[in-house]
């Protein structure tokens, strides 16, 4: 059980003007599954490499269980890592791959054998032990790579996009397996991915990074429901949140924003009272596809739910539901509709806007407007 603190980590590569990491602060609790997510080039892999000690930091400190490990060699940090390319030693068989780290650390042979067998049982790779990595499938290589990390029983596990080389089906299977493994072993895991679905499904907490800066740190639910800024809101969720430029108006029942469809039809959407101070000003309305759906009797009475009729521009059936695009205030807005009641593109459809979970952003700072 180990706790990891990242304190204002800064990293500048020699000869590069801009900082790659601009002061990252994250506390990772013992047994926590933390996911670093962000677009390519956001610094997530660099951050992971600095934790592993494969790259040095320019400033700040990395503290593991109260001990500053910032300047230690990778081998002294008690950290194991699973790589995107698996990085199995091609000339060694599976057993030797898993045992390599233990042999280097000069453990007694009996102990090594016992540990390798334990890991092999855990990952169900006992029948592969004498094969070379080249003779394994992608999923099996992935397991061996995890086995190699597990064998040393390190304090922290690092996963660097471990699933991105697998095909879609296997990726979902391995995702479940990693989650099970974490629940069983209760290890501290830092996991890098650019796949926000992976982040949502696996993480205890998600750290969203962009341009070397931490955008938001929170549980998947927090990040999804209350994104700190436009970037996080747009990055998390698939299909992503739609952003509509609107003006806040005072109405007889409270506050509302007006949206205009592509056919000129107007609709006033109710907004919460905390936008009081924004009355008369423009804000950005963030609405997720599931907040625009076909009318539902049970929701109709809520004061924050309203209905309107708009022209559907595009439909994309996904199986369980149909994604439809309508245009509001000259912006494409994604709606998640019931597949049982199909709508054709070009037709008008009755839509229900559930405004209880929508979010608003300050167009200047792009930060979310918080309820007071």
């Amino acid at each position: 059980m180990s706790q990891l603190e990242l304190r204002s980590i800064r990293k500048t590569y020699p000869g590069v003007a801009e900082e790659t990491l601009k002061g990252i602060d994250i506390d990772i609790a013992s047994g926590e599954f933390l996911i670093l997510v962000g677009p390519s080039g956001c610094g997530k892999s660099t951050l992971m490499n600095t934790i592993a000690g494969l790259e040095t930091i320019t400033n700040g400190s990395i503290v593991l269980d109260g001990k500053d490990i910032s300047t230690m060699e990778p081998k002294d940090r008690d950290i194991a890592m699973v790589f995107q390319s698996y990085a199995l030693y091609p000339t060694m068989n599976v057993r030797e791959n898993i045992a390599f780290g233990l042999k280097i650390r000069k453990l007694p042979k009996a102990e090594i054998d016992q540990e390798v067998d334990r890991v092999a049982d855990l990952l169900q790779i006992s029948d592969l032990m004498n094969k070379k990595p080249a003779n394994l499938s992608g999923g099996q290589q992935q397991r061996v790579a995890m086995g190699r990390a597990l064998a040393r029983r390190p304090s922290i596990y690092l996963f660097d996009e471990p699933l991105s080389n697998l095909d879609a089906k296997l990726r979902v299977e391995m995702r479940t397996e990693i989650k099970k493994l974490h629940q069983r072993l209760k290890t501290t895991i830092v996991y890098v991915t650019h796949d926000q679905i992976e982040a949502m499904t696996l993480a205890d907490r998600i750290a969203v990074l962009k341009d070397g800066e931490l955008q938001q740190l929170g549980t998947p639910k927090e990040v999804y429901d209350t994104p700190e800024n436009l970037f996080v809101a747009g990055f998390m969720g698939s299909p992503s949140m739609s952003f509509i430029d609107v003006a806040v108006e005072r109405s007889e029942t409270g506050f509302s924003v007006a949206v205009e469809g592509s056919d000129g039809r107007m609709l006033a959407l109710p907004v919460p009272d905390y936008l009081k101070s924004w009355a008369g000003k423009r804000v950005i309305l963030g609405i997720r596809p599931e907040h625009v759906s076909q009318p539902d009797e049970q929701k109709r009475d809520d004061s924050m739910v309203t209905e309107g009729r708009f022209t559907v521009e595009v439909t994309e059936p996904t199986g369980p539901d149909v994604l439809a695009v309508i245009r509001l205030n000259d912006t494409d807005v994604q709606c998640r509709l019931d597949a049982e009641h199909p709508v054709e593109w070009g037709e008008d459809a009755d839509l229900m806007f559930d405004m209880r979970k929508v979010v608003f952003f300050d167009p200047e700072s792009e930060k979310r407007i918080r309820p007071q």
Binding site: A52, K75, A87, Y89, T91
Partner: protein, 289 residues
């Protein structure tokens, strides 16, 4: 079935194979002449046809070349020089290959400031003509006390070969993913452990390329041998030259040919034994696996 038969006898195919066969024959003729001549008696050579098979098969030419022929004033055959060449070639090949592997490892996986420039400059070594280094090298060997010794020749060949072997290994190791090195570092392996336990076992194909290349270069070298070695430490290429140029009485072509064959045999053997790795190593990396 009929398809196979038809394509097998298409005129264009016949023409191609015919031409290839002809080319192969042309290249084999000198070898053939050398071989048959080496087994002939001097009488046979003088009276018979160049291309004809020996009327009396005899190994006299071979035994004379090996142990009795005169190379200058001495008449002990090329036996001693053959072993000289081995004593020079084997250490020079091994040392230059190991050094190249090590250089390649550092230049691809442990880059330092200016390492690319360093590598670029090292590559110039591949283009420096032998003649350019003769005088400075002679002076250096003299100062080191290695003039006219086998050790001196080994040193010269190692220095000359390192540019090539480094190039081979560096380009081979560049294609190996860095994640492998990172994984090994996290597993606790250090600089040398990674080299000896992870990278070297993966290097068989490029090792073979380096071994064949260096062996051929060093074994066949004449210029360094004739300049930096004298008398007892001369390599076989120099001895062969002396043997052929020593004229006492009648020219013994059978002995000359046998001596030339003996001098060429080791490189032939190396090609036959390690040839398949040579092709594999040269094409490694061209197909992403």
């Amino acid at each position: 079935m009929t398809d196979v038969v038809r394509t097998g006898f298409r005129p264009s195919r016949v023409a191609i194979y015919g031409l290839l066969l002809l080319a192969a024959l042309v290249y084999l003729i000198p070898l053939f002449i050398m071989l048959v001549t080496s087994f002939k008696t001097p009488m046979d050579i003088r009276t018979g046809n160049l291309m004809a098979l020996p009327t009396d098969w005899t190994t006299a030419g071979w035994t004379k070349a090996w142990s009795e022929a005169c190379t200058g004033v001495q008449c002990e055959g090329i036996r001693g020089y053959f072993w000289n060449s081995f004593k020079m070639t084997v250490p020079a090949v091994l040392i230059s290959t190991l050094l190249g592997a090590f250089n390649g490892y550092v230049l691809s996986k442990w880059k330092f400031k200016g390492s690319d420039l360093f590598f670029g400059m090292l590559l110039f070594g591949c283009f420096v003509p032998f003649q350019v280094v003769l005088l400075p090298m002679a002076a250096t060997l003299g100062k080191l006390g290695l003039a006219n010794t086998t050790a001196g020749l080994v040193l010269v060949h190692v220095i000359y070969g390192v540019a090539f072997t480094t190039l081979f290994f560096r380009n081979y190791y560049v294609a190996i993913p860095d994640a492998l090195i990172k994984a090994a570092r996290l597993d606790g392996a250090g600089f040398f452990t990674i080299f000896f336990r992870i990278l070297l076992p993966m290097s068989t194909p490029i090792f073979m390329v380096s071994l064949i290349w260096q062996f051929t270069q060093i074994w066949n070298d004449f210029l360094f041998g004739v300049v930096f070695a004298s008398g007892d430490s001369q390599p076989i290429t120099v001895a062969l030259n002396n043997l052929v140029n020593t004229s006492t009485g009648v020219k013994e072509y059978n002995v000359d040919m046998a001596a030339a064959m003996i001098a060429a045999l080791p490189t032939l053997v190396v090609y036959i034994v390690a040839g398949k790795y040579f092709i594999r190593g040269l094409t490694a990396g061209s197909v992403k696996g």
